[in-house]
Amino acid sequence: MDFFIKYLLSILIFFPLASVVLLLFINKKNEGLLRNLASILSLVEFIFSVYLFVYFKPDTYKFQFVEKLNWISTFGASYFLGIDGVSLFLILLTTLLTFVSLISSYRYIKDHIKEFVILMLTLETFMIGTFASLDVLLFYLFWEFMLIPMYFIIGMWGTGRRVYSAVKFVLYTLSGSLIMLFGLIYIFILHYDQTGNFTFNILRLYNTHIPINLQILLFIALFLGFAIKIPVFPFHTWLPDAHTEAPTAGSVILAGVLLKFGVYGFFRFAMPLLPAATLMLAPLVIIIGVIGVLYGALVSMVQKDLKRLVAFSSVSHMGFIMLGLFAMSAISVDGSILQLLNHGITTGALFLFVGMLYERAHTRQIADFGGIAKKAPILTTLFMISVLASIGLPGLNGFVGEFLILIGSFNHYMLLTIIATSGIIFAAVYLLWMFQRVMFQGITNPQIESFQDMDLREIITVLPLILLMFLIGFYPAPFLERIDPTVVHFLSMISRHGYVHNLIKLKMGLSNA
């Protein structure tokens, strides 16, 4: 058991890869076995990751489950893993959503089952590796490897212009990542110049002293890499295409996990590495974020395709997260990190429901639906809960995150926060409008007459997400108490480098309800 806990991160990273090896030996004709085995293995992986949560010490910002091995000693690259309160939950989200996506695909994915499950599990390895790496080179490798399985998932099992979308997704992200890599290597060299040591260890790189002008240039380089991934307006146009054409599992992983990497990148790399530039450029980033909130919401209002609507709503939600992260008050960053999880849970669930609708009616056009509530009460109830979570209804998860972001940002960016808050009106407009057209009213499409309600497998697929919506909505403490120390440390890292706004003052002093 000691061994298990000590090397838990490595186990989590390589267990899916080991599963792939196992699956390689199974005949591709044996589709049932492939599906079931992959689902079970991903469930085991999820259960392993729960141990992370159980053994995680909540009251410290220090990295835990640290593993360190020399890797390419000439460059100072090492196999350096560790997690804090932020990556902890992102890894849990990854393992949960991989499991959910696999069991959601029993009906949707009909051909090349073997390739599909193998790609999904490979992707899981890369995703967890990216979140767990504390070595920049290792991080970058995992980061780029993620693109390959995702490319195939969209290109192989997608619909419509799937190849166009897949290529667009890869090229868009790749071009951003290359600029980001350039920035990271530049910092690596700077650090060498200052200390005479090669190291990709992020904790050491944090201490690199970088002049402010250079910081700004490097920030722009990293910004491009991360902003495209999030995506931030105006770098978002790959997202609606990729989401719309991807299979359900692809959309769930894309929205639920892949979009998180951009924000995570800002949190782990761009902001603490370049604190002066961060403090200086924060207002600009926030303006872009707030534009994204409104832009995504307004464009969502006129979408006719269900998936495209949910995709644009992501642009809006990610704008909120950028606002909270760059407002840099402890409350707003706590909110942003929590909202990162919430978005993965809620939007993941929304894509699952859209997938179920598509599997039954073979259309994604909102106008082709109507009257489903009468045929499928379970689907209606659970779908509605997810929609309400996305709208930010209190009692569900979205509210807690959104509220913390807004109340935490309000002090520094009053006007921008007010503008962003108006986004909650638009969210209600487009989501309720969509829900009404799709689920309520009379049946106009004869296809709907034979609409089946959710079966047991589908209920199991969404149930963990629905339960999490309620849990975080009613009792966010287990999440916030683990995120908070990490966030406070993160802010002190940024403010330590001169340019101390009054961040410290912010973090203290205010009394409570």
């Binding site: 390689l24 390419i72 790609l119």
Partner: protein, 627 residues
């Protein structure tokens, strides 16, 4: 775990459990869910009454269930404040809810969504209870939204009807507009005071710059304007009548829509320290009272007439809290809850007897056919018109007398004119529906409603006759005033009394206004001294204005809805697709990447790709470890 803690949290627990039970297992309970749901609310009512006596004979207290959110320095718990104001509200909310639940058993009897209905009705009662007892603004906001959600789902209860699901959506969105202001008000309060706890905030208000207090108060009021359907956000409430009638009685008359008034009374410290904000409340209230009564004059849909009446009466309550007469506002809130709940339940009984008919022009002579309904309806009408000894007389006059004696003469005149119009429109409804010749569809078999519906009506009618007497001796010596005013002792007296005109003179004027309204309706619709059509033709433009609800929906559609949608389409089609994506694709095709792509992904090759990928990664890692 003392008794107070247990009693307090049991009150919301029962309806909460009900929501859960009927929502998940409704089909196993069949028809019983209605009875059990009602008994749950009755238990809450009994517990609320016990709490009422505890608080009356001892003192208020606060109690915490669990700490809810704790992020950095932001803390908010699930805590309750139990004082006289909250117990009065609790008893009213649970009492009316219990009666409406019982009534609903009959009204919704054959509906296939019976369990779903009681599930959401229970959820509403739970949320409303929590709204009333919360002791911090975050919790208040949470349940403020939650009651809005219940309203949304219950308005759209018959979701297959487009008009019903449209109305639910409209209610939610219009409320969100108000809540947008409300949320920003909460943010501003938090950064000003560093807390969201009522008690701490109230202590700090006197030391906060008055301009900040004014802005906070106005933002909070924006939320009240949405929730309590005041101009300019009143447009959702008439449409909300698409929901089942008991829902209209409970949510859209007695409880949820009064949350705005309750909120201002609860935050009297904030509002009383801003004279400007209070004057805005008074102005909006007065204007809305008049506007809604004016629209109600010419409507033919009986539920919509009562809905506009609700908007108008809420306007009176805002007048009261806008001049700092908080007890008068709450007194009218309670008395209105009783008589307006009664009017809706009786209107529902009319619909029940007439197979869902709502059009006044297709009624007439119902008095002889449904006597209980008719008599209870008339009791409600008399109370609404402010005729003694019915409750509306005491409560409305308490407001109007304070308005006059505090020197707001213009508001007082408007209030009296509104009182006249009120008496007219409600007795127009009564005379046309229950008396005169019958215009009923001969196919419809008119019948009186079952006992399970009429008994709650009779109870409410008796209450409408009794509770007014809490208002004696008149005004600031009354039983109700002396009970409640201790809760408002921290209010700043920004509007002192400038007159001491005796109550009987002012009451006389109000009663006269009411009687003139009733007599006019009598002469027009019973005696037919003048044909209503003639009157209509004389005042044609004014009639059209009233009949078309002052065209407010049309104006909103023209100046808000259409431009926003047009702009959004522009963003999507021009900015997104043409400009941004056009540029991206342009760059990409410049590199001619797209030419190569498609040929490569071929099914047969995929496996080898994956293999290469896996082996490659493994080899790479292996290589570096070995070194």
């Amino acid at each position: 775990m003392d008794a107070k803690f247990i009693i307090t949290w049991l009150i919301p627990l029962f309806p909460f459990a009900g929501w859960f039970l009927w929502g998940l297992f409704g089909k196993y309970f069949k028809g019983y869910s209605g009875y059990i749901a009602s008994s749950f609310v009755v238990i809450s009512f009994i517990l609320s009454s016990i709490l009422f006596f505890i608080v009356s004979y001892t003192h208020g207290f606060t109690t915490t269930l669990y700490p809810w959110i704790h992020a950095a320095n932001f803390k908010a718990g699930v805590s309750a404040v139990i004082d006289r104001l909250s117990v009065v509200m609790l008893v009213m909310v649970t009492g009316v809810s219990a009666l409406v639940h019982i009534y609903s058993i009959g009204y919704m009897q054959d509906d296939k969504g019976f369990a779903r209905y009681f599930s959401f009705l229970n959820l509403f009662v739970f949320s409303m209870i929590m709204l009333v007892i919360s002791n911090n603004l975050l919790l208040l906001y949470v349940f403020w939204e939650a009651v809005g959600f219940c309203s949304y789902i219950l308005i759209g209860f018959w979701y297959e009807k487009k008009s019903a699901s449209d109305a639910g959506k409209k209610a939610f969105i219009v409320n969100r507009v108000g809540d947008f202001g409300f949320a920003i008000g909460i943010f501003l309060l938090f950064i000003t005071t560093g807390t969201l706890n009522y008690e701490t905030i109230f202590k700090m208000i006197p030391s906060i710059p008055s301009i900040t207090v004014t802005i906070i108060a106005l933002l909070l009021f924006a939320g009240a304007v949405g929730k309590s359907a005041q101009f300019p956000l009143h447009v959702w409430l008439p449409d909300a009548m698409e929901g089942p009638t008991p829902v209209s009685a409970l949510i859209h008359a007695a409880t949820m829509v009064t949350a705005g008034v309750y909120m201002i009374a609860r935050f009297h410290v904030i509002f009383s320290y801003s004279q400007f904000a209070s004057e805005v409340v008074l102005t909006i209230g007065t204007f809305t009272a008049f506007l809604a009564a004016f629209i109600a004059l010419t409507q033919f849909d009986i539920k919509r007439i009562i809905a506009y009446s609700t908007i108008s009466q809420l306007g009176y309550m805002f007048m009261a809290v806008g001049i700092g007469s908080y007890t008068a506002g709450i007194f009218h809130l309670i008395s209105h809850a009783v008589f307006k709940g009664l009017l809706f339940l009786t209107a529902g009984s009319v619909m029940h007897g007439l197979a869902g008919e709502l059009d006044l022009r297709k009624m007439g002579g119902l008095y002889s056919k449904m006597r209980t309904t008719a008599i209870t309806f008339i009791v409600g009408g008399l109370a609404l018109s402010g005729i003694p000894p019915f409750s509306g007389f005491f409560s409305k006059d308490a407001i109007l007398a304070d308005v006059y004696n505090k020197g707001f003469y213009f508001a007082w005149v408007i209030g009296e004119i509104t009182a006249l119009m009120t008496a007219f429109y409600i007795f127009r409804l009564i005379f046309v529906a229950f008396f005169g010749e019958s215009n009923l569809d001969p196919e419809v078999h008119v019948h009186e409603s079952p006992k399970i519906m009429t008994i709650p009506m009779i109870i409410l009618a008796s209450l409408a006759l009794i509770i007014g007497f809490l208002g004696i001796p008149p005004f600031n010596n009354s039983i109700f005033y002396s009970f409640l005013h201790v809760d408002f002792k921290n209010a700043y007296n920004f509007a002192p009394f400038v007159n001491s005109t005796p109550w009987y003179i002012l009451s006389l004027i109000s009663v006269l206004a009411g009687l003139i309204g009733i007599c006019t309706a009598y002469l027009l619709y019973i005696k037919k001294v003048v044909n209503p059509e003639t009157v209509k033709n004389i005042f044609k433009p004014i009639y059209a204005l009233s009949y078309n609800k002052v065209y407010i929906d049309e104006i909103y559609n023209f100046i808000i809805v259409k431009p926003v949608l047009g702009f959004s389409n522009f963003l999507w089609k021009v900015i997104d697709i043409s400009i941004i994506d056009g540029a991206v694709n342009g760059i990409a095709s410049g590199f001619a990447f797209f030419g190569v792509k498609a040929k490569r992904i071929q099914n047969g090759m995929l496996m080898s790709y994956i293999l290469t990928l896996t082996i490659g990664v493994a080899a790479l890692l292996f290589y570096f470890f070995i070194r």
